[in-house]
């Protein structure tokens, strides 16, 4: 996805020319998100899961909830870890092997967006203080690539968490003991929504598809919470934004985030 060929250059020129005319290559408005299809509970044996299709980008997230050891200094809190992986079948250029920097950044940005929103109240995920806590692992895998993985992974993880069922463990004989059948939702306090914007020429577009992703000079991903506050942000790419552009992107993320949040809620309600 990083190689630039003559064809890429031609596509880039075409995209730029259209943007000058106020048009996007797939006909969307500048602040319009692609069709978002969400299938909650796609992996029934996981504790929570979702399959998300954002345009032609497709991501599956599975949540595993299990007892774990707390970190030495935070024995009064559970663990929340969100990962992301590009499966090699998602695009011909994806390579297997240790994760490359852009995949590490993807995982960390998706994780931080959810973490910084305080979506999951980890203080409730304690089995026995300092000894055993509940770990919540939300693992995203990308199965088809067409740009903007940040948002697709974020939506998949959020819906998977919203629909997760947590088992109950008691502390028996110095070990966590599963209480059969006792399932509760995760302690959720807000719904974070990530919105990614790309700068192409002097234009800023929301939810860039694969061709736009390859043509952009810079990007920014902004996560907002249910109160319309901004809780995480990551600028990327080899160019900069003006102060005004950055302020505007913040406003766009709040407005678009609100629309997306309704769709995530609908997906959650669909499985209840």
């Amino acid at each position: 996805m990083a190689s630039k060929t003559v064809l890429d250059e031609l596509k880039r020129t075409q995209i730029l020319e259209l943007l000058e005319q106020g048009k996007r290559i797939d006909g969307r408005a500048f602040d319009e998100v692609r069709e978002l299809v969400i299938e909650a509970n796609a992996i029934p044996k996981a504790n929570g899961s979702a399959r998300v299709r954002l345009g032609d980008t497709e991501v599956i997230c599975g949540v595993k909830i299990q007892p774990d050891r707390p970190f030495p200094d935070t024995g009064d809190r559970g663990l929340f870890i969100c990962t992301a992986e590009l499966l090699p079948l998602s695009h011909p250029t994806v390579e297997t092997g240790p994760p490359q920097p852009h995949v590490i950044e993807l995982a960390r940005v998706v994780d931080r967006g959810i973490r910084e929103s305080h979506m999951i109240d980890v203080s409730e995920l304690v089995i026995k203080k300092d000894k055993s806590v509940i770990g919540v692992f939300a693992d995203n895998v990308v199965v088809d690539y067409d740009g903007n993985l940040f948002d697709a992974c974020s939506y998949a993880a959020t819906v998977a968490l919203l629909t997760s069922k947590t088992p109950t463990w008691n502390w028996v004989d110095e070990k966590p003991a599963l209480v059969e059948g006792d399932l509760t939702p995760l302690p959720v306090s807000t719904i974070p929504v990530s919105v990614t914007m790309a700068k192409i020429g002097n234009h800023i577009v929301v939810d860039p598809n694969g061709d736009e992703w390859a043509s952009m000079s810079a990007r920014v991903t902004i996560t907002t919470d249910s109160d319309g506050n901004i809780c995480a942000l990551q600028k990327g790419g080899s160019d900069g934004f003006t102060l005004d552009e950055m302020v505007q992107c913040g406003e766009t993320s709040i407005r678009v985030g609100k629309q997306i949040r309704e769709k995530l809620k609908a997906a959650q309600e669909g499985v209840q």
Binding site: K45, S49, D146
Partner: protein, 244 residues
């Protein structure tokens, strides 16, 4: 498996198994050809509670060059389980088990693919186990055959696969997860029905000489059932009414 659990009733007095099946009855099998946009070919299989996605790329150039073969194409297979596909979260790094299964599936597919038609190139088969429930390698192999066909790779035949096994001293078809854990033997079989060749065969568990013979035979017969579903999947996509 050193120490199989025998407390579960795996087969009742009426010959009905723990999930309600008869001894020669496979689980529900659904195969879809295609589905992925970027892959050159793909397939999705639901085999009982197994959910597996396969994508194929190629024939394409090999990097580094010295890994290619001037006489023939090469087949590369990666079998990979998602962290959330099994009971306890799986470490994302490839396990030795996954590496072995990748090799076994590769060698099971090679006799079916006309690699000699694509010298110097590679065909890549990427298998992703989304949800595992016993018998993933057979389900994966069956789906991989369909994905290769969907990619338009010339083939001599398709490989169909299913496991036979032994529970409660009885030879059965299609071992599920409980039967694998608590049963007496598990024998994954991969078979090309047209060429009449077994291309995958493994066995864990103890069988007499007679049981061994029966187990292979039952597995081969089961493969023929799977084969029909594979053909139907391709039919549905390329000639069927429902457009994909």
């Amino acid at each position: 498996m050193g120490g199989r659990d025998a407390t579960m009733v795996l087969l009742d007095e009426n010959g009905i198994r723990c999930d309600g099946r008869k001894i020669d009855e496979p689980r529900r099998i659904m195969i879809r050809a295609g589905g992925l946009k970027n892959a050159d070919g793909s397939a999705y299989i639901e085999f009982g509670d197994n959910k597996i996605l396969v994508g194929v790329f190629g024939p394409r150039d090999v990097h580094p060059k010295h890994m290619s073969n001037t006489d023939t194409g090469i087949l590369r297979v990666r079998y990979h389980m998602e962290p959330f596909s099994v009971g306890e979260r799986k470490n994302p790094a490839p396990s030795r088990r996954e590496i072995e299964i990748s090799k076994v599936i590769k060698e099971a597919l090679e006799p079916a693919v006309m690699l000699e038609k694509f010298p110097r190139t590679a065909v890549d088969v990427f298998i992703e186990v989304l949800q595992a429930d016993g018998g993933t390698r057979c389900a994966a192999l069956s789906a991989a055959s369909v994905a290769l066909a969907d990619a338009g790779i010339p083939m001599r035949d398709m490989v169909a696969a299913i496991a036979s096994g032994k529970v409660a001293d009885t030879i059965i078809l299609d071992v599920n997860n409980e039967e694998d854990q608590a049963g007496q033997a598990d024998m994954p079989v991969g078979y090309m029905p047209n060429l009449k060749k077994i291309t995958l065969l493994q066995l864990d568990g103890v069988l007499t000489s007679e049981e061994y013979k029966k187990c292979v035979t039952v597995g081969v017969e089961g493969c023929k059932l799977v084969y029909e579903i594979q053909k139907q999947a391709l039919n549905d996509k390329y000639f069927g009414k429902k457009g994909d």
